[in-house]
Subunit: 346 residues, 2 copies
DNA sequence: TTGTAGGCGTTATCAT
DNA sequence: ATGATAACGCCTACAA
């Protein structure tokens, strides 16, 4: 592998000049810079990251922590974040930090983060993760690792957070059914013990309750039903629900995947959507549009971009104030499609 | 941040011993190892990756190159791969290498890979990417970067590849419809100019053709229809197809998302699936099961695990032979559900 | 504007 | 089994 001296020799300058020229530092004459660039190109030279990081003191890397990357939300956020981070010169270190269960093991393999990355992007991780000691105060006076949380279960002290108001989102969804005239509405939500269930689910359940209660629903009218995560989980839970007796006239699912599963179950049970029962989700999943699912959409990609931008600001030292970092809440949008309608008059 | 000398001092040994002890090298007495471990723990010491990499010569990182991470396939593969790579001590460097269009720009920001990672995992990337010079021969005698391709559009010379036989998969799907008695079958495939269309789509189209031709279909019976990627793309394309005149009795989609879109379009057009038209996909998407979509499933997670395992073998130097690396083809499974049936007798 | 030299924190080599 | 002591390849004062 070619090293910096090779380039220096070829260009007829010192290694220091090569370093400066290639990194675009101002104290280099245009002429030399050109010569150095040419030499570097000819040799196919690239600075060794380990060496520059060691010498320069910055990792040039952002850790992306997700429960798992194979979920539409993580994927959308990370894709969007990468679009800003890469051009800014940062690499993405991907790490799954496990769901609720694994999180308890003190976030295994996270202690090395401060030395390995410049900042952290925490996506859709459960509350326990936020309490990880690494995020709080690295041993002995090192300043805390900068970071941002996106739709996390709990804020990390000192980190800004971006997300949506999940309580309000679910409330909006529920209110929509209420306004259509529905009264017997069940909330289908992710089983909290399921690692795949996102932390947002909990808030969304609260949103459902609030809306129902505000509408004067008696306590026994709060109909909550837990499902394993994913479309299949939603289908199974709904099937079970239908087997129990009179179906509800409306279903609010805490995420679109569950909603889609519910629709499948309803169709198979011979019930028509929305003629017999209305279904609305929360998420704005890619599939929702094609399926015609009514939903309260959250701007996943926008959240990713915003988080990345915030991180970059912080890293470039633009904002280094000690004021408690902000909590940005992006708006959700109620999107009415073909799965919600007034209940059948009986 | 605590450094190795701090630990050495506290443990009363030299830095060399600390290094050896912590890395589990054999030439350390159990007693000292314990003392060192304790000291390290007390100080919360973690070796600086930049320094170890610089000194040790290995990056401890695997680059994961995907067109985009927000696709069910990439996500599934990467999640599975991470499960092997992390415990083995490797970090994942995530990078999107752009689709067809961006790939032409000589894979911007890939030239640094040899110095940054120990190996590469190339997932579902188009053919052009495989030709990237970095993968072939780093300048001046450095040995080529090890790597594996997963479901890539073209093999990288010298790298093993894992994947499925996409031609056969689509052929199987098509033959299924053929055997049910369908004759007027259209193939719905991803628009090749769409960055989001996976390279496998092309092969799958061939599979359709082969099956049709083998069944004695005249050339004008080969009905191919391109769609933008995703469920919505499949829906739109199918809607357009239906608007053109007599619908086919069967649709083979080159991926499940397109198949789901097709189903939506058919339903909206008042056609019943499978009574009026049968639909079968290829992929084994998470949603397929819940939706009841018949499909030819590929083992995405298994591919990821296999790729990671292969990489680890190669990295541990277990196999360093110069024989041309293997091409592992995992079997696909025809899964019959509720979207395929014999055509209506007319 | 450019060159010189010391240091970044580990690991590897060679003694002991 | 353990301790000095060079590398490792680059960056950053400081000097010129």
């Amino acid at each position: 592998m070619t090293r910096i001296d090779d380039v220096a020799r070829l260009a007829g300058v010192s290694t220091a000049t090569v370093s400066r020229a290639l990194r675009g530092l101002p104290t280099v004459s245009e002429a030399t810079r050109q010569r150095v660039r040419l030499a570097a190109e000819q040799l196919g030279y690239t600075a060794s990251p380990s060496a520059s990081r060691l010498a320069g003191g910055k990792a040039g890397t952002v850790a992306v922590l997700v429960p798992r990357i194979s979920s539409w939300f993580s994927g959308a956020v990370v894709d969007a974040a990468e679009e800003l981070l890469r051009p800014a010169g940062y690499d993405l270190l991907l790490r799954t930090v496990g769901g609720r269960s694994r999180a308890q093991e003190r976030l295994p393999g996270t202690a090395d983060l401060p030395k390995r990355v410049d900042a952290v992007l925490l996506v859709a991780t459960p509350a326990l993760v936020s309490a990880a000691p690494v995020f709080a105060a690295p041993a002995f006076g090192g300043r805390p690792l900068p970071g941002v949380t996106v739709a996390a279960g709990a804020p990390v002290p000192g980190w800004p957070s971006v997300g949506v108001d999940d309580v309000a989102a679910a409330r909006t969804a529920t209110e929509h059914l209420l306004q259509l005239g529905h009264r017997r509405i069940v909330c289908l939500s992710g089983d909290a013990t399921d690692d795949l269930t996102r932390p947002a689910d909990l808030d969304r359940r609260w949103g459902y309750r609030e809306a129902m209660l505000a509408a004067g629903t008696p306590a026994e009218g709060i109909l909550e039903f837990a499902a394993r995560a994913g479309v299949e989980g939603g289908r199974q839970a709904t099937a079970k629900l239908l087997a129990r007796g009179t179906p509800p006239t409306g279903i609010v699912a805490t995420c679109d995947e569950l909603a889609m599963g519910a629709i499948v179950a309803l169709c198979r049970a011979g019930l028509r959507v929305p003629a017999d029962v209305s279904v609305i989700g929360v998420d704005g999943h890619q599939f929702a549009r094609a399926i015609g699912l009514s939903t309260v959409a959250q701007p996943a990609a926008e959240l990713g971009r915003l988080a990345a931008g915030t991180l970059l600001d912080r890293l470039s030292g633009a904002r280094h104030d000690d004021t408690e970092p902000g909590r940005v809440i992006l708006p959700t949008r109620l999107i009415l499609r073909e799965t919600t309608a007034p209940p059948r008059a009986h």
